[in-house]
Symmetry: C2
Subunit: 152 residues, 2 copies
DNA sequence: TATTGTTATACTCTATAACTATA
DNA sequence: TATAGTTATAGAGTATAACAATA
């Protein structure tokens, strides 16, 4: 095995680990959320509605189509978790959590953190090491040569 | 903010980063694989067929139903990338890459590693730091001091 | 003319259930 | 009886395209 092949193999392994971990995290999320009686994709939206947001913005943040947000909003409204409130631009509708929605968000938020793999499996120190690495991985523009200064 | 709330907030942030990164990784994978003219889920299977494997085993490794593996195998066969070869147990069929399949796997393998976020954004040293943390998160090793409740 | 949200419809991925052929 | 693979079908999740209201 050449040096290059070795680096490639290692990179593939890390990428695969990353994906595996994220899939576990998602599956954990589903398990955590189930007993609260809300489907995962609705839960995800609720957690994003820290403050009222235009449906369009939600589509951007969820990286999905506007029509799908309509879909989500309908279901969230049926459950009494959000309201559509008119924006100043009269084309726009904001999604705002109702009281029940806020309560749901808080429950979700705590339940998710409590069961978090990141808390269960890593020490405080390990989390402190992990954070800057993930930030750099998630970063849009960073180049490998520069490691010290971490953005955001 | 209490100490507990702070830990929770940090854990949520890390979990979200993890999922975001993995989604980016998957999306990168899709982009990388597209020009090779093979859908992502077929590519994933090809990369797993380092050596011939029973369909059942593939189902386990992909964490999917046996019927779906049949589905994949049909499409891979149509493309001439794999063959079904009989196992010694005559109920079993192995999936084995054809020559075209091996060639595809090599192309995929290189393309994926080359574009890998993990290579592009991290230094050798950072990858060395990241690996053990991910391994522990993935549960490949034993958890930290606290081996509390039995997870999923 | 471009943009927001909606509607109706269609597609992709994946699972379930029933079946066959072995074991 | 239990297991490997197959078939046909169904469902969840999400997108596309055409549309109405507003900018």
């Amino acid at each position: 095995m050449t040096r290059r092949e070795h680096r490639y193999a290692e990179a593939r392994r890390l990428s695969q680990l990353l994906v595996t971990i994220a899939e576990q995290a998602k599956s954990d999320f589903a398990d955590t959320v189930l007993p609260l009686g809300i489907p995962v994709h609705l839960a995800r939206a609720v957690l994003m509605l820290d403050q009222p947001a235009p449906m369009r913005e939600l589509a951007d943040r969820l990286a999905c189509d506007r029509s799908y947000v309509t879909n989500l909003a309908d279901k969230l409204e049926e459950r009494g978790l959000v309201e559509r409130v008119p924006g100043e631009d009269r084309r726009v509708k904001l999604l705002a959590l109702t009281d029940a929605g806020v309560s749901m968000r808080d429950q979700l938020s705590d339940a998710v953190a409590e069961r978090s793999m990141v808390l269960r499996r890593l020490t405080d120190q390990q989390r402190a090491e992990l954070a800057p690495l993930l930030e750099q991985l998630a970063g849009e523009q960073s180049s490998p040569e520069r490691s010290a200064s971490t953005p955001t």
